[in-house]
């Protein structure tokens, strides 16, 4: 076995095969996104064309989308909701994970399992009670109604606790000896050293919130105040208006894409190694 590893020809062959598999998988992943943008750039008459290159290019679909819905307003609303949701989830997740990782208290394991257990409860189970509650609070049809029930996420707690479990205990103890309370230790010692993990989680939560369709659709009912709901404007009983639909969907993808580009270094850091030390 070691011989085949050391033989340069067989090693190169393995590398070629590996790259080929990865390339095919990569193409499969990228293709739908490419097709989305390609369709959005075709002339309205060519929307059903199967040619791989959208030629001649046309911005007509984007113009149609902009004339039918308030793209900037939708973008703003969606950003606001996604930002509030992810910041809220990050904050509650950080506090809960810190308590689970740094403190000793009774029933810690049970409580943690209960926390994680909420992850296993399907959205459909909590959807109706939340809806009724929002109705009673008069928050239906408001962005606050979309955000508030999602402020706490088990995923955030889970991931942050994993990171905090690997946090050097002696640093927390040193901070205690040096005169910090638990609260100030969190902000002066834990958070600055956890920045890569927090950045990665922030992106994850932001993207999740950004891509949410069903819950905003329920709370906002007939109004189309968010991008994802705005897409509904182009779906009709007599057929979908594919060009503007794809244009708007393409626009909806862009902010997340940009966010990823900016914070990519942090994401890779956090997922490859814990980022500490």
């Amino acid at each position: 076995m070691t011989d085949s590893w050391q033989d340069p020809r067989s090693r190169r062959w393995r590398a070629v095969r590996g790259h080929a598999v990865l390339a095919v998988l990569g193409l499969l992943c990228v293709f739908p996104i490419y097709w989305l943008y390609a369709t959005s750039l075709r002339r309205p008459g060519d929307v059903y064309s199967l040619s791989p290159l959208p030629w001649p290019l046309s911005w007509q679909s984007y113009a149609d989308a902009a004339s039918k819905v308030d793209v900037l307003g939708l973008l703003g609303n969606t950003t606001l909701v996604a930002a509030l949701t992810s910041v809220g989830q990050l904050l509650t997740g950080l506090l809960a994970a810190y308590a689970f990782a740094a403190w000793e208290f009774r029933l810690k394991r049970v409580l943690y399992l209960a926390f994680v257990g909420t992850w296993l409860v399907p959205f459909q189970v909590t959807m109706l009670p939340n809806y009724v509650l929002l109705f009673q609070l008069g928050l239906l049809n408001t962005l606050a109604g979309v955000v508030i029930p999602t402020l706490c996420s088990a995923l955030g707690v889970l991931l942050l606790r994993q990171h905090l479990a690997g946090f050097p205990k002696e640093l927390l103890e040193a901070a205690r000896m040096d005169g910090r309370s638990s609260w100030t230790t969190l902000w002066t010692v834990v958070v600055p050293n956890l920045r890569p993990a927090l950045a990665a989680l922030a992106i994850l939560l932001f993207v999740n919130a950004w891509n949410e369709y069903f819950w905003p659709a329920m709370v906002l009912r007939r109004s189309n105040a968010m991008l994802q709901l705005g897409l509904r404007s182009f779906m009709g009983t007599e057929g979908d208006d594919w060009g503007p639909l794809m244009a708007l969907a393409g626009l909806a993808c862009l902010p997340v894409f940009l966010l990823y580009l900016v914070l990519q270094r942090h994401i890779v850091n956090a997922f490859v190694r814990s980022g500490l030390r």
Partner: protein
């Protein structure tokens, strides 16, 4: 003043007793070393003093104030951790100033004190660096600086030298002794390294299985070990311990075993008794009138200035340490000599040191009696 009194302190983790009813009175200005093998409870005891681990039973007083239930930050104690626990995201300057910022001192005051401490520890050049840009020795000094800057009642140190290489450890040892002399403050220092304990301590507390085996100056614990554990822990190689019988012959006591017949300085007529005979390797020699041990050489180690010979006496391993060359070869049958005053006797069952009082060898029960010299 910062006297630390530990009163019958115990710490249990479930079934395991990490610290078992320890009483210790640490005077102001002492350099007390908690010494013992890993798992003996020395770190747990230190953490209990720091307030990081709550005691199951017992009390701790600092300068006559009961601090048993006071949180660490209000105890006026500074701690240096084994891993140094420097804050990775802060510069050296901010690391050292961290405890002062937590106490909301003014910016100018913090800066001045950090500069002063950096001066003492020779860190001035490094103030702008991050911990990861420092060598092990520099990190150790920063950790020390963070403790120093607070001007605490006492310093607690948890094996602060164990991550340094041998040469640096030797240098830092003398620096710490110097620092202690200069500050005249109380140091409580945890280590498993007997050289650190012997060289730095004003007093050593030896722990085993959570119990205090002996407290005394380095000379006392080395010259009059209170138990077979202490005798077998200190010294490199440690004291030779042989199961023997104490017999009276012609009005004089002898320790006798296969290959062993050691006369003692005690004139008495006693019934035969089971004991453990202890002799330090450096107190055995190849020259003298009457050999007291007979053995066969199994191994000779060269330490540079000295040699250590491993022999088998009866069926026990015995070490002999002496100036090089010992001129011994593996397989040699030799007789070893030792003066009667170098014999240590321990009770076979309890392992406690036997001291001669009046006309009976007795098993002392209270620790205070252990330091009585054999007359």
């Amino acid at each position: 003043m910062s006297r630390i009194q530990i009163e019958s302190a115990s710490k249990r983790f479930g079934e395991v007793t990490a610290v078992d009813r320890i009483c210790l009175d640490i005077e102001h200005g002492e350099f007390l070393v908690l010494l013992g093998p890993s798992g003996c409870g020395k770190s747990t005891l230190l953490r209990a003093i720091a307030g990081l681990t709550p005691l199951t039973e017992g009390r701790i007083r600092l300068a006559d104030r009961d601090i048993t239930n006071i949180p660490p930050r209000d105890r006026d104690l500074a701690m240096v951790f084994q891993s140094y626990a420097l804050y990775p995201h802060l510069s050296v300057e901010r690391n050292i100033g961290f405890p002062l910022r937590a106490r909301r001192r003014s910016r100018a005051e913090i800066q001045q004190q950090v500069r002063d401490v950096a001066e003492i520890l020779d860190l001035t050049e490094l103030l702008a660096r991050r911990p990861r840009e420092l060598s092990g020795g520099q990190r150790q000094r920063v950790a020390l600086g963070r403790a120093l800057v607070r001007d605490p009642g006492a310093f607690l140190m948890d094996e602060p030298l164990s991550n340094l290489d041998a040469r640096l450890r030797t240098a830092t040892r003398s620096e710490l002794t110097e620092l202690h002399r200069r500050l005249r403050s109380t140091f409580v220092y945890v280590t498993h390294d007997q050289v650190e304990a012997m060289t730095m301590a004003t007093r050593i507390a030896l722990l085993d299985h959570g119990r205090l085996e002996q407290v005394g100056s380095p000379t006392e614990v080395y010259d009059q070990p209170a138990s077979t554990f202490v005798a077998g822990f200190l010294g490199a190689p440690p004291m030779n311990l042989l199961d023997a019988q104490l017999v009276s012959r012609a009005g004089r006591l002898h320790a006798v075993a296969p290959g062993v017949d050691m006369p003692l300085d005690i004139a008495a007529d006693l019934p035969t008794r089971e004991v453990v005979l202890g002799v330090r390797p450096e107190h055995l020699s190849l020259t003298g009138a009457n050999p007291v041990l007979h053995g066969v050489v199994r191994l000779v180690e060269n330490l540079g200035s000295e040699e250590v010979a491993h022999l088998v006496v009866g069926d026990t391993r015995v070490c002999l340490r002496g100036q090089r060359p010992l001129s011994l070869a593996v397989g040699d049958a030799v007789g070893l000599h030792s003066a009667p005053r170098h014999a240590h006797l321990f009770d076979r069952a309890s392992g406690r040191r036997l001291v001669w009082r009046d006309d009976h060898a007795q098993v002392p029960t209270a620790p205070a009696e252990l330091d009585l010299p054999a007359s």
